[in-house]
Structure formats: C-alpha cells, structure tokens
Amino acid sequence: MSQVSRRELFPGVWLRTVHTNKFKSSYLSVTLLAPLDQKTAGANALIPSVLRRGTAVHPDMESLSAALDELYGGAIEPAVRKKGETQCVGFAASFLDDAYAMKGENILEPAAELLGELLLKPYTEDGHFCPDYTASEKANLIDRIRAQINDKRTYATQRLTQEMCRYEAFGVDKLGDEEHVSAITPERLWERYQALLREAGVEIYYCGSAEPDRVAQALTRALDRLPVNESRTAPGCDVRVTAGPEPIVAEETMDVSQGKLALGFRTGGQSCWEADFPALYLCTAVFGGTTLSKLFMNVREKLSLCYYASAVLERMKGLVLVSSGIEFDKYQTAKDEILAQLEAVKRGEIEPWELEGSRRTLIGACMSTLDDQSRQEDFWLGQAAAGLEESPEEFAARLEQVTREQVAAAAQKLELDTIYFLKGKEA
C-alpha cells in the first residue's frame, strides 16, 4: 500500500511524499503558492514558462531536451493552477522510476537537481530574464488568454465567476489578463520572480518508490538556493456566507449559435473546512454532477431544454456553479427549470437510485485518484492550499455516511447570487 507523509524542509517549504511501488514512473512537482491578485497573476503565470526555456547550465530548449533524454525521457512541464484564492505556479515532472532504469542508476537525484535548476538557476542576460524568451512566452500567454473565448462553455463559467466575485480575489483568472501581461518587461518579471521565491509558500510533491528520507535529502539539496524566510505562508480564502438581496444579472452578446446560461450560488458558508462538507459535495452531484443527476436526467434528457446542464462545486470558495447550453429563447424556461430542480433537492425529493448512483460515481472517482499520479498530486495540492490533511480514502468513507436528509439540508443553504447569459447577435 502507499504511505503518505509530510514534512517541512525549510521554513514554509513543505514536502509531501507518497511512497508506493505501484507505478513505473515517479512524479515530482514544486509549486509556489501566492495570493491570487489582479496585479501579479499575469506575471506569476508567465514565470514558469520563461524558466522552462533555459537555465544557466542548459541555456536553450535543445540542451534541456537532451538532459531530459538522459533521464530516460523525463518530462518537466510548467503548471499554473487556481485553488480557491490561491494561485499555484511551478513545475510538474514525471520520470522513469529508479526501479526500471536499464543499468540500475539513480534517476531521482539528477531529476530533482534539474527541477531545482529550472526553478532557481534561470538563464539570464544583464541580470534579469532574457528579452527574447520573455517576449515569446508573453506572446504565448496572451494567445492562451485570448483562446479562452474559443471554448464558450468554459468561457461562460469564467465570466460568471468574474461577475459574481468582482470584488473578491476569486474573480481573477489563473492566467491573469491581457492588459497586465502586455505591460510585463524582463526587468519587472525578474522582480516578481524574486518576490515570489522569497514570499510564496512552497509545496513539493513526490510519488514513487524512493524512501521519504532519500526524497527529502535530494530535494533539500536541489532547492538549497531558495531564499530563507521564516514568514512564508500559504494564502487564505475568503468565504462569503450570503448572496445579495437580488441576483446580479449579466448578459453578453456574441456571434454564437448556441446560448450559454450560467448560474452562480453561494453555499451559505459551507466549504471544505466544515464537518458537513461531504453532504454539500453529494448534494452538488445529485443536483448536476453526474449523468444520473437531476439537471442531466430532467432538464437535458426528459425536457430537452439544454444541450448540456451540469453543476460543479468550488469547495474552498463555497460556490456552486451551474453551466448550460440552451436555445436563446429558452432562457426563462431553462432558468426556471434549473431552479425548480434545486427546489426538489431542497425538499428532499431524491430517489434512492439518484442518491446511490451519485454516491457510487463520486466514491469511484475518489478512489481512482489513488491510481493516477497526476490526479493524486492535484488532490494533495488542493489539500495543501486548504491546509487539510484528509486523504481520498478518508473522504470516500465520509461520503458513505451522508444521508438524504443531509443532502437536502445542504441544498437548503444555497442562494442564487449571479446569472450570466451569453446570447447570439440576432436574438
């Protein structure tokens, strides 16, 4: 079985190890946890991509690629994520596990060293990031930000959270915005990088066959250039308890053939830190989280009001976000029906097959996290950002205990906060 442990390598620099022999690869990530902020989000998101272009030792993509080949075709990729109101930036790496090297050589140590080199020994010109790498990665990031509009489904949810959390950090996108990214210079980016290294909480993750002590030693060495700072902390997350007196309504018009209706609910203060959180989690699934849910079975399948309709839970921020694709003229009917389905959950009108089907799907997803190194890493990063220690197995066990009444009680606290509607030009 796998053994999970956690220890502090330097002040505010934490290592989580999952010791297991079940994979052929070992997974390694280093993540800096910074408060999500409009002013810094773009630069923070840009930093790992610029770092990935070259180091003092391996100054270009070719030499980095050759170094990775030497490590049996390992992969190190920039990662930018958002967990609650924390922006998580860094690298995620996958290497052949030591047990499978052709000549029995160690891969963990040189891999950790390369990862540390990418984070801490960048290729520089005139004491800051090189203008060439900065400019081309800036262009890539702006392309990515602009491309968000291509996927209208994701875009609608993003716009919903933006409107809903206009005065909260959660409204900021993980990639930042075009305006701030465009203004970045190699010098300013370098300052941001130094500040990030000095201030951010650091979360390191390893999953593989090496003993935790060996992992700790390899990473302590690889990251020894990290500035010492006794007051490094992971940021918090502000949970708003109630919605405003009237829902905010935001509409946008674009040249689209399918309308998008997104509804944002506050959870009445329920979030991952509360004891009854599993009930809220199951409640969201029964409402709109699976193909057995009320939104899928009724709004989509039975009434054919939507092309798709689903609900997701933002567990740290305490939001339930409904996303649907509709004909433009179905706005009122679809909205009424989505709210009617929620009312049914509030009244506890949940069939045993709905409750159990959703519970089985959630528990299956939870347990299969253990079979996938990158999903497991993402789970533990989320726990680190929230300051929680509960494992997937423990959470699954709590899900087993949730009753129909608890699901209804969780639903009763949901309050509609914001409505976002994307409609076509001629509508």
């Binding site: 079985m1 796998s2 297991t20 022999n21 079940k22 994979f23 052929k24 690869s25 993509m61 070719e62 690629s65 050759a66 990775l68 080949d69 030497e70 490590l71 049996y72 075709g73 390992g74 996958s94 290497f95 052949l96 047990a99 499978y100 052709m102 193909t291 057995l292 097959w353 089907g357 089985r360 799907t361 528990i363 299956g364 347990m367 299969s368 253990l370 079979d371 190194q373």
Partner: protein, 427 residues
C-alpha cells in the same frame, strides 16, 4: 493458466486460450483500485473483402465502424446505460485493423465484465435502429471530413498506396454507408466476432482464473470459422504520387510527409521493426535531433510537429506532420539529413540518449491500463507480445536504424500531402 514474467518492466501476464478459441490476457494489479477490461475483434476498417464458408464477400467501406456503433444495442435496451448505472465508464473504437470495446470501474467489476462480454457477443439489429444510426454516423463523417489533419493524412495514404485498403477511411463515406443493412451487419458479426478471432485483456485487482471462468460462462462454447481477408495485390516499394494538395479552411499550411516502408508478416520481427522505426525517426527528425532544432529555428515547423511509425497487415510507413510555411523545404531538408546520416552515420552520443528517452517513455506508458491492454491486443493480433519490447530494446543497434533510414527515406518512397488555405475567389 500460462504465466509470463517481464521482470525488466515489473509485469506479469497470465494467458489462457479457452476451448472456444478466445485468448485471455490478464495483468493482475492488486494495489490498484480500478479494473479495466478490453474486448477486441481482429477486424477493422480495412477488412472489407473476406471469405467465409467458401464464399467471398465484398462489403461497403465503414461496416466495421457501423457495427461498433450498433453493438451497444441490446434486446432490453442499451448496454452503455447499464454500465453507467454501475459507475463504469464504457466506450469503443474502430481502427484500420481492430475493433475494441472497453470500460473501467472501481466497483462491480465482474458484473460490468459480464455486461461487456454479453453485449459484444450477442448482436441485436433492427431495420429501424440501423437506419436511425445512418444519420448519426453521417454527421460524424461530415465532421471528420472537415478536419484538415484527417484530410491531409488520408490524402497521404492515397498518394502512397495503390491498392491497400488503408487508403479508405475507417468510417467510410456517406455513399458507402448507405448500402449497409442489418443483414450486412449480421454477416460481418458472424465472420469476425467469434471468440477464436477475439481477445480479452484485463488489468486491475482481479483473479486471472476468475476472469476466464466469467468468459467461459458468458461467451459461445464453440469456436467459429475465421474468415480469410484480402487486401488486394502486393504493394510496390514506390509511392503512387509524390505530391498531393488540397485547399481547406486552415490558418497555416498543414503537411503530412510519408515514407513507404516494407511490410513484414506477423511475428516478433514486426515488433523489432516498430522499435527500429521509432528510433530511426528520433535520430532523423525527433525532438532532440539536430534537424529538429534547425527546422524549428528557421521557422519551418512549430510546436504542432509530430511523427510516428505506423504498421498494419500489408503496410508499414513513417510519417511526420505539422504546420509549415514551406512544406517542400521540410521534405528537402529531411532528405538531406537522411543522406548525411547515410554518409556519416548517426552520432553515437545522440543514439544512446535517444534510446534511453524512448525506452523510459515506453515504460512510463505502462502506468496506463488502457495502453497495456490495447497494446497487448494489437500485439497479439500482430503475432507477438507487447511487453517483449523491453527485452528486445537493448539489442537494437544504431546500424539497424541507419539501414532503415537508408532503405526507406528515399525519393521514390516519399510522398508529401499538403492542405493549404483556400485562395481568394476560389469556391
């Protein structure tokens, strides 16, 4: 059951050929939560002409794929929904050579396996359901025909092959599927979906003997006759046309560059050729080759560049594809690099590095149950075992790769397919 050890990659494979001719392969993984089952027929898009009980049949293009779509129908309803209600995620695909059905689940694995084996072995087609599917598949065909990457690849196949059915789309065309009737589907099911022409591969926390028991219980007791296939006249070494072009809605020209190889008969030689072909591509134009860096620097390729070795019964080739402002220059530079390698040989340092990289990536790929099971099914139909690659790998020499490059990357075997943006004013 026969037990095969692949110690280098830490895998054990159980194998049994049941009395009805079905080959069962099981990879027990006691530490995993999830089980995965893959049930496949040695029958794909290219098996259009076949002989059963002394009679030759010529079936329309797209039958194997159409059959795959219709197999989920059961007398009682639809197997997809039965599996979903059990928390399983089912799906299927049809390639040139095989048709495969699969699911994974963390609970009720045995019950799900019974559903899988049952719906694939018991055909249930009505005129009405077959007619209804025609519209759905027609839309799917319309969608892929709009995909410039797919179009570019199919054009390359037409340019390279004169007779081989790899020239024909797996899904067929709207015209070809118009001829498909329930009788066609029953005839093809009878010819190819008998246990002697199929494999079952399972990975997960399962007991191999028990998997065989379930298969014995559900599947037909007797082996049926295996239909003989005909792929037409043997192919010449030369391509049919060295250049083919098409105009579509694309932002940059998309190219597919192909090198026609020598197809081998089934057996381990096919696996060896696949590994040599893969390594040859890496040293010739792979991510860490000198040519790749040069093409990238000169802006002749971008991050969309990819490459692979492909083989099916009766054909084998190398293909590289991507976006380029000047595809002809890419063809020219690859030819020059192949000539240089012919004169100077492959750099020994590059060879060792690339070998490590490819090996590590292949071993890391074994984390995926899907990769393991689909890989073994394909390998079995090609006459070898998937995991043998680990032992063969060490014995592959630089000279073999050089020989393959010298033999295949030559003018008469090269074809270039380009999809260009529509010119102003052309319809």
């Amino acid at each position: 059951m026969e037990q095969l050890q692949f110690t280098q990659v830490g895998e054990t494979m159980y194998h049994e050929k049941l009395d009805n001719g079905l080959n069962v392969f099981v990879f027990p993984k006691s530490e995993f939560q999830k089980g995965y089952a893959f049930f496949a027929a040695n029958y794909g898009g290219m098996d259009m002409r076949f002989c059963l009980d002394g009679e030759w049949h010529n079936t329309p293009a797209g039958v194997a794929h159409y059959l795959e779509h219709k197999m989920f129908d059961t007398e009682e309803g639809n197997a997809l929904q039965d599996l979903a209600a059990n928390g399983a995620s089912p799906n299927a695909f049809t390639s040139n050579a095989i048709t495969g059905y699969y699911f994974d689940s963390t609970e009720k694995f045995e019950e799900n396996l019974r559903i899988l084996l049952s719906f694939v072995s018991v055909p249930w087609f009505t005129q009405e359901s077959v007619d209804k599917e025609r519209g759905i598949i027609g839309q799917e065909i319309g969608m892929i025909e709009d995909d410039p990457h797919w179009k570019g690849f199919m054009n390359l196949m037409e340019a390279m092959y004169k007779h081989h059915p790899i020239r024909v789309s797996v899904a067929g065309s709207v015209e070809s599927i118009a001829k498909i009737t329930p009788e066609t589907l029953y005839a093809c099911h009878k010819a190819f979906y008998n246990p002697a022409n199929m494999v079952l591969c399972v990975a997960g926390p399962v007991d191999p003997e028990h998997i065989c028991e379930v298969a014995r219980e559900i599947l037909p007791k007797q082996a049926g006759p295996i239909a003989a296939k005909d792929y037409g006249e043997k192919e010449q070494h030369q391509v049919v046309r060295s250049f083919i072009e098409e105009q579509m809605e694309v932002s940059a020209p998309i190219f597919h560059l192909g090198y026609k190889g020598d197809a081998l008969v089934n057996g381990e030689a096919r696996l060896r050729q696949e590994l040599v072909g893969h390594l040859a591509l890496e040293v010739l134009l792979g991510n860490s080759s000198p040519l790749y860096a040069k093409l990238y620097r000169e802006g002749l390729i971008n991050q969309e560049f990819s490459y692979g070795y492909e083989s099916d019964p009766g054909c084998a080739f190398l293909v590289a594809n991507g976006e380029s402002k000047d595809p002809e220059a890419v063809r020219q530079m690859v030819a020059e690099e192949a000539a240089r390698i012919g004169r100077e040989g492959v750099n020994p340092g590059l060879w060792e590095r690339v070998k490590k990289g490819v090996y590590g990536n292949k071993v890391r790929g074994l984390n995926s149950f899907e990769n393991l099971c689909v890989g073994q099914a394909q390998a079995f139909f090609a006459g070898h075992d998937f995991l043998r690659f680990a032992e063969l790998f060490g014995s592959i020499t630089k000279e073999e790769a050089e020989e393959l490059i010298a033999g295949w990357v030559m003018e008469e075997r090269t074809a270039l397919s380009v999809v260009r943006a529509k010119e102003e004013g052309t319809p």
